[in-house]
Amino acid sequence: MPLPRLLRNTLITALVIAAFVISYRVTEADFPRLLRDLPKGRELLTAFLTPDIVQRDLETRTISIAFPIPCGSAAVEDSPPSQGPRLVPGVNCAAPLEKFTLEGFDLQPNSEVVIRWRLPNERTMTAIRTQTDAKGYFRQEVQARPIQATVNGIPSRLEVDTLTPVGGLKPSQALKDVMDNMFVTIFMALLSTTLATLIAAPLSFLAASNITRKGCIGTAVYYAFRSFFNLMRSYDPLVMATVFGFWLSFGPFPGFLALTVVTIASLGKLFSEAVENIDPGPVEALQAVGAPSLHTVRYAVVPQVIPDFVSYIIYHWDINVRISTIIGFVGGGGIGYYLNLSINDFKWNQAGTAIWAIVIVVWMMDFLSAEVRKRLT
């Protein structure tokens, strides 16, 4: 007996609400945290919007002064010269974690300044970055960070690098790396689509009911390939890539193989559906002629399915470019790998360059594949 409409609708609504409540708890949704932490995202977004595309060669000049921490642990710097590039700290020495001001005079104008501590054992600790004005002057509050900074009477030194851009703009290293990796990505997609097509095209006939599903063996083969395609298709290439990466270790090769396996399944399914949708008349005609079955396929089926096949191949190339941009995240090589590295190193501008490259390539592929497929039909 069919449920009354109202009861049924109430039931469905209740189920949907229950599903969302469970989901809300399972996903540990915490929107206040999102709102609170969103400013972190603004920093990322600004970095993404200023991708690292061009750079200028930098000239680095370094000056330093001795700075004993704590006071008396070593000799202080002699009184600084009153001319030329010089550093003038507000105090000559400081207790650990004490704050003081540091001024620089007659440095390179309009340059980036990196202030750091050089410990007696030659290791460095970056303190802070700032900028000089047009006269080469900067003023910056610095904290005496190194705690045990004086070893055997040798003090830590306060060191300042001025980085002055010289020469014209040129493509940055990040841009070159991104293009190199994009090159790998596009070829990964191209090769995997090609290999997958070469394998899937013949196999698809075995998974087409109108060709294979005859007799006991035929039916078995049909179901075997059908289920193989359906099973493999359910895995995202990235899931496959984890296992291939585990097997073959890191690089574009496992990514390529994972992409190929999933594409075989996906194309195999699409192809076999195209084969199933052909006009059966010509097949019958060629059987009546006495043609062997392979020839029936060659002359009656293949000419009918070629346009569909080509359209699917182009469509899949498009998808594969998209996927190969991210397959590097799980050890697949290409631009995804570069992006992952940049993010792990907190180099957000570099990551921005990679993301913009991905957006552009994906857009271009989208457009091209749509245009070509439009022409075909």
């Binding site: 006009d279 008349g281 010509p282 019958e284 005609a285 060629l286 059987q287 009546a288 002629v289 006495g290 043609a291 062997p292 392979l294 020839h295 060659r298 002359y299 009656a300 000419p303 009918q304 070629i306 346009p307």
Partner: protein, 253 residues
Amino acid sequence: MLRIQNVSKTYPNGTQALKNVSFDVADGEFLVVIGLSGSGKSTLLRCINRLIEPTEGKIVWDDVDITTASPAELRQIRRKIGMVFQQFNLVKRSSVLTNVLSGRLGYANPWASLLGIWPQEDKQRAMQALERVGIAEKAHSRADALSGGQQQRVGIARALMQDPKLILADEPVASLDPVLSHSILQYLEQLNKDGITVICSLHFLDLVHRYATRVVALKDGVKVFEGTPNEIDRAKFKEIYGEEAQEVRAASL
């Protein structure tokens, strides 16, 4: 000489398409099978070259039992039986020439033909067949660029490539205009005069009168009439087509 003996066909879904049908076809006859849609005409024709496996009965052609032939023997038999279809069954995206050449697949070298390489002799034969049906100039067009009548002529040319001794024509004119019908049947008649036996299923009685040398009528899978066209009188007509039927002339449509 083709002997059809007690042939029955039951489809897996239980439909009984043919019930115990028997008749003989002498060499050189133009036999027409008539009957309503669904009376079993197509099934009968397809049983002869075993595109459909008969459930029971025997079909013997020139002392060879078609019904028990092995797959290899069956291909040998099929290449001597040309077939023309209602929907032409051409590969629409292939050229007319390729479609005609594919009629030769029962004879051709299996490897060369798989690669699409055909001997010069076969190509000449295909052009001759196309000339015979009057569309040689269309040889390099795609099949779907042709009109229905032209496509059916390609279908006949394809059957000719087989050097057939027997042509099975399954409603060859049902998808065509009445005027074109006559032109197609005239080609079949011409082939019949050249010594090829023709078994043709038709819808319109006036076409039967004009072309058939003998007629077999089916109703619900049972043979209800066998004889010359002239023997079909009003009573027979009503028996075959049912009480309400009116004779319609193809030419008057």
